[in-house]
Structure formats: C-alpha cells, structure tokens
Amino acid sequence: SQQGEEDPQALSIQEGENATMNCSYKTSINNLQWYRQNSGRGLVHLILIRSNEREKHSGRLRVTLDTSKKSSSLLITASRAADTASYFCATDAVNAGGTSYGKLTFGQGTILTVHP
C-alpha cells in the first residue's frame, strides 16, 4: 500500500508565485524525504527531514513535518519555469523493532507546472 499520498495531484502556477505541495502518510516514520523528477528522467533528492524535526530549509525550499497529523508540506518560493517537474514524498517507516526497514515508500507525486 502507498505510504505517502501527495496533494494536489497537479498544480499550475505563474513564475514568481509560491508552490505548496502536501504529503500524508499512514504509519510512524524515521524520516520523510522529497524528490524531484524531470519528465522522463530519474529522481533527484531534494531534502530529508527527520521525525524529530518540524521544519527544514534548503535554498528556496521549505519543508515542514507534523508527525501528529502524519503530514508534510513542501513549499517552493518564487518559483521559476525550471521548477516544472514532478515532486514526490517518500517515507522511511518504523518497523516492529522500532528501527528502519531500510527502504523508502513513495507517493504518487504532484505534477508542478510553472508558466513563464
């Protein structure tokens, strides 16, 4: 079953606007990661946030994590046409022993289109 579910499925904005994507998940996690995928290419890691962190920044990216609501958001500020891509959240779930399964489970992704 899918651990992470992104919302919205698609987002269309103008250059300069902010883009916010949300991710919900079902079980306890060690960390949550966001990835970007340009059309027809592999995924590229953007940012990792641990379960004991609430917010993290990297350049124009801001990620929040609310473990009580089992949700995360990715904010891209001052978007550019080059930000057009699919964005995926991925979770590292906690196993029965309280550690990691050693693998990530991905959501279905949000397709972001930034118009010049």
């Binding site: 027809g40 995924l43 890691h45 991925a90 590292d92 550690t99 990691s100 050693g102 990530l104 991905f106």
Partner: protein, 115 residues
C-alpha cells in the same frame, strides 16, 4: 558525484522474452533498489539488496528476480516478459544499511515496452 548508470534507456521486447536490466553504481553503496514507475501509481519497490548476494522482496516482486554478484552491480531479471510489465524501471542506491533510510541516488531509468 555519485553516479548510478542503467544500461539501457529504452528497450522493446516481445512477450515471453527474458529481459535483463542492469544497474551499476560507482560510490561503494551498500544498498541498491529496483522500482517501477507507472502513471497514477507512483514508484513501487520491486526488490532491494543490502549486500552482495543478499536480496529482499519489495512490494511487487512477482514476475521479477534480481542478482547481485558484485557490490556495484544490481540486475533486474524478467524471466518471461509480459505486457503488464511495460513500465519505467528505476534503479537507485544508498550508502548504508541498518540505519534509517538515507538519500537515494537514482539512475536515469529504463523504459521497457513489451509487445
């Protein structure tokens, strides 16, 4: 920079053929993964490996097998390709096993079409 190389970007095979998808990483990573990506379904884990000759089933292993004879190489095998295996296949690697899952480094993907 970590590089994950998938041997073929595009393949076209016929139903029943045996298909090999090869993946090589050059950063001495312990973990390697095979995902398939389909529209509306996101990425789904097929198999992963945390050491040479070790493998673990992912969420959708049926119809696939894997081989890891060397640390840097992880192969996905479709013993008898079927049309429902038409998909984008993505290989990834990560540094360490036994810790919370770290950053994955992905290859460019192999788009397989089974006729």
């Amino acid at each position: 920079d970590v590089k994950v190389t998938q041997s073929s970007r595009y393949l076209v095979k016929r139903t029943g053929e045996k298909v090999f998808l090869e993946c090589v990483q050059d950063m001495d990573h312990e973990n390697m993964f095979w995902y398939r990506q389909d529209p509306g379904l996101g990425l789904r884990l097929i198999y992963f490996s945390y050491d040479v000759k070790m493998k673990e089933k992912g969420d959708i292993p049926e119809g696939y097998s894997v081989s890891r004879e060397k640390k840097e190489r992880f192969s996905l095998i479709l013993e008898s390709a079927s049309t429902n295996q038409t998909s984008m296949y993505l290989c990834a690697s990560s540094l360490l096993f036994g810790l919370p899952a770290g950053e994955l480094f992905f290859g460019e993907g192999s788009r397989l079409t089974v006729l």
